[in-house]
């Protein structure tokens, strides 16, 4: 049954697949942009800017490129970029890469769209009240989806959250979606899987249902192949592999991440997501991997204690045919089993680099209660959080 009320919005246009970048010049013209500034880091500019320049060759646009983003770039970089942007008459921003690059690009957009001194006043949730300059995001394989959300972090004290920060256009091109370390790919994909799964099982919002379904199905059907291929590629020493099947599988993973960003912008955070972030602060494991470890246990908890009908979760996990041919009572367990199977596979494929349990991840068991306390909220009390963490620590299924 439908919830009493529900809503959804995604202001971004997504273009995905073969020669997607070639569409970008005309898409920019359509939103009144003609002189974009590309913001990226040394790594991406070395690898990809040629491709982007080629895509723009037939247009009359001139591109600016700034490749000085570093993992610790902050307000000085934003100020430097604002000067470059204003002094050279740029009228739009393209972020190429992941994480920090998108944060800085979004914050630059706030600055160049208004008064730079406003920055502190506009920090927080929904403080920005009108559209900013045209903003394009070009993802790479380890984009985790946060880039496509309305969130931007400047530092521990100042962050921004507004739908106006979401990209106008997300352009997913296989020429940019190239090889990446398996660990990073799994981290991004598990983050997408977690956000989509928690949203999918939290009630029936038919407006976001398509994004949730696709993100889940794309991760489940493509992640293993992409990870395995990245090992094969290392052996072959191939730099760029644009073979159709392999590049399609990668494209699917990036689609999943981007869609998880759209979902994220419409929902409160789920419990696995919150626990994942908290865990990653206590041990050497990335948040997405930690979320993935917790996910099966928190979903089992949800299925058992909250009386939700989670049988439908198998549909995006396993696909239409397997879903329909599995007897109704077995569907949820079988779906969870498939996630666990994948995690156990990665543990062995990556020679234990990707943990299956919080114990594998090197978390000190004494930390569990601390994390539970930190994450506890109205829906999930401290004892519940601890219960889920404890099961995820030992890899012990939550029985009905």
């Amino acid at each position: 049954m439908l919830p009493e009320s529900f809503n959804f919005m995604c202001p971004s246009k997504t273009g995905s697949g073969f020669r997607a970048l070639d569409q970008l010049p005309s898409d920019l013209v359509a939103i009144n942009a003609s002189h974009p500034l590309i913001i990226t880091d040394k790594y991406c500019s070395g690898k990809y800017t040629k491709t982007i320049e080629n895509a723009f060759k037939c247009s009359e646009m001139t591109l600016g490129i700034y490749n000085g983003i570093k993992s610790n770039s902050g307000i000085e970089t934003v100020s430097e970029l604002a000067k470059i942007y204003n002094n050279n008459g740029f009228d739009s921003i393209i972020a190429l890469g992941h994480g920090r690059i998108a944060d800085i690009a979004k914050i630059l957009n706030i600055v160049v769209s208004g008064k730079p001194d406003d920055l502190k006043e506009l920090a927080g949730v929904d403080k920005i009240t009108s559209p900013l300059k045209p903003f394009v995001y070009i993802p790479v394989l380890n984009s985790d989806g946060r880039e496509a959300t309305g969130d931007a972090y400047l530092d521990d004290e100042i962050s921004f959250s507004s739908n106006f920060l979401m990209p106008n256009i997300v352009c997913i091109d296989p020429r940019i979606i190239t090889e990446e370390s398996p660990y990073k790919v799994i981290n991004s994909a598990f983050r997408a899987l977690t956000i989509a799964s928690e949203s999918y099982t939290e009630g029936d919002n038919p407006l976001s249902g398509a994004y949730e379904h696709i993100a889940i199905e794309f991760v489940m059907t493509n992640l293993k192949n992409v990870v395995e291929n990245s090992y094969k590629e290392k052996k072959r020493f191939s730099k760029l592999n644009l073979d159709t099947t392999e590049s399609k599988e990668r494209i699917c993973l990036v689609n999943a991440s981007i869609m998880s960003g759209y979902i994220y912008s419409n929902k409160p955070q789920g419990i696995s997501e919150k626990l994942g972030y908290a865990i990653s602060k206590k041990c050497r494991v990335e948040p997405g991997i930690a979320m993935g470890i917790v996910l099966p246990y928190s979903l089992e908890y949800k299925a058992n204690r909250k009386n939700y009908d989670l049988e439908k979760f198998m549909l995006p996990i396993a696909g239409l045919d397997i879903y329909c041919s599995t007897p109704a009572g077995q569907r949820f367990d079988s779906a969870i089993g498939q996630i666990r199977y994948l995690q156990n596979e990665f543990y062995s494929i990556t020679s234990t680099e990707v943990p299956r349990t919080l114990e594998d991840a090197g978390l000190d068991e004494s930390m569990l209660s601390e994390i539970a306390k930190e994450v506890a909220c109205d829906d999930y009390h401290e004892a519940t959080c601890f219960f889920i963490l404890e099961h995820a620590f030992y890899g012990k299924p939550v029985l009905p």
Partner: protein
């Protein structure tokens, strides 16, 4: 899941749905810096008491600068100009469109004029003519079918130049679509069934036609499921709030689905029957859908077969062998039409010869079929159909749809390459 080599997906509309969501309009408008709004609607909607429900829900929290119900069934440039003047004169800064397709098209036209500060709509026809965001526009649909609250096009007639102006731009998408179950509670049964079958056709064509993509696919499946699970209940029990909301939501996601993937021959033929014989769009859709799916079956039978899941549920789907699923899916659509026909005392006709006007006259006489077929050849949607159609093909299909007989696919076996024939 089918992943095309390249696909695009975009729907910038924020959709807000529920049983009492009209009340949230003032807050949503104020977030867009609007202080005084104009309601555009038509006489029918006003007489049904729907405008009053809207004004009661919002008037305490936002100033209403004008309520205009002067929209004709086909949006007209003179009305657009007139309403634009009222908008400016009364100092409005946003529009709430309450109604169906023509109300929304009119509102989109008004929004172009007042946002661009121009008095010549003609300048903004065609793709790419609009370059920036227009003023705030809220769409409140009062039927559950067209999905026009999430489409980026508008058609406005110019009677003096005897022309229809077509507008297409992402900037024409409303900022917000508000689906409130109160807006469709009083929709008569035959309109409920027609419009719902229009939505179901959007979904089925989006899923089976050439520009399908992952997002349009899942929206389509979910839309069909909502319709088959709720439509008959709502017809039998019109005040079923949950069912009404489900149908409104289905129309909305089916709209997102087809506006990002295009529709095919069911719409080609339907537009033409509408143009030549003035049969309501939804009636044409419900009658033609089984024929469109049958005609294309040798190319898209696999996709049609997958529609059996949302049409009939998981049990029927898994019990039916793969090769039988396409036909079974079509059987379910025919069966749904028949049930709707019975439940509405025949006001949901299942074949063209049974479509009657108010006086009981046949609206589609058999001798009109050639004219319809000729008109169809000029309709743009024909290019997105999986299989080609010439005049003879269309005429043959129309004859079957006229009599209500199943399509005899063997008539085409010599002409088309039935390469997937064996597997189906």
């Amino acid at each position: 899941m089918h992943l095309p080599e390249y696909y695009e997906f975009c729907c910038t509309v924020k959709t807000v749905a529920g049983h009492d969501v009209l009340e949230s309009i003032p807050e949503l408008l104020s977030k867009m810096n609007s202080k005084k709004t104009m309601i555009i609607t038509d006489k029918g909607v006003e007489l049904a008491g729907l405008v009053k429900i809207v004004t009661d829900a919002i008037s305490e929290n936002i100033e209403i600068g004008a309520i205009e119900s002067d929209v004709p069934p086909d949006s007209d440039v003179r009305v657009v100009n007139n309403l634009s003047k009222i908008y400016v004169k009364n100092g409005c800064d946003s529009i709430i469109a309450v109604g169906g397709g023509s109300v929304l098209d009119t509102a989109k036209g008004v929004n172009i004029i007042v946002s661009e500060n121009s008095d010549d709509l003609m300048k903004f026809t065609g793709a790419g003519a609009l370059k920036r965001k227009l003023r705030p526009l809220v769409a409140v649909p009062t039927t559950s079918g067209t999905g026009s609250e999430v489409t980026s096009v508008a058609v406005i007639a110019d009677p003096e130049r005897n022309k229809k102006m077509a507008f297409s731009s992402l900037y024409l998408l409303p900022d917000i679509a508000v689906l409130d179950s109160r807006m469709t509670l009083t929709l008569p049964d035959f309109l409920t069934s027609q419009t719902a079958m229009d939505a179901l056709t959007h979904a089925a064509e989006a899923y089976t036609c050439l520009s399908k993509n992952p997002v349009s696919d899942i929206h389509a499946i979910n839309a069909i499921k909502l319709i088959t699970e709720n439509l008959l209940n709502v017809i039998k029990n019109p005040t079923d709030k949950e069912g009404r909301l489900a149908l409104a939501t289905a129309a909305n996601i089916a709209g997102m689905s087809f506006s990002n993937s295009m529709v095919g021959m069911v719409h080609t033929l339907g537009h033409s029957i509408g143009a030549v014989c003035h049969v309501p769009h939804g009636t044409c859709m419900s009658i033609l859908l089984p024929y469109g799916l049958e005609y294309n079956m040798h190319k898209t039978g696999e996709y049609t077969g997958e529609l059996l899941y949302p049409l009939a549920g998981d049990k029927v789907y898994s019990k039916t062998p793969k090769s039988k699923r396409p036909e079974k899916a079509i059987e379910y659509i025919r069966d749904l039409n028949q049930k709707l026909c019975d439940a509405t005392d025949g006001r949901h006709p299942v074949c063209l010869k049974d479509v009657l006007d108010r006086d009981g006259n046949m609206m589609v006489p058999e001798d009109k079929l050639p004219e319809i077929a000729k008109t169809a050849l000029g309709d743009g949607s024909i290019f997105y159909n999986p299989e080609e159609l010439d005049f003879d093909d269309i005429l043959k299909v129309l004859k079957f749809a006229w009599s209500g007989e199943k399509l005899d696919r063997s008539l085409w076996i010599h002409k088309n390459s039935f390469k997937n024939q064996e597997s189906l």
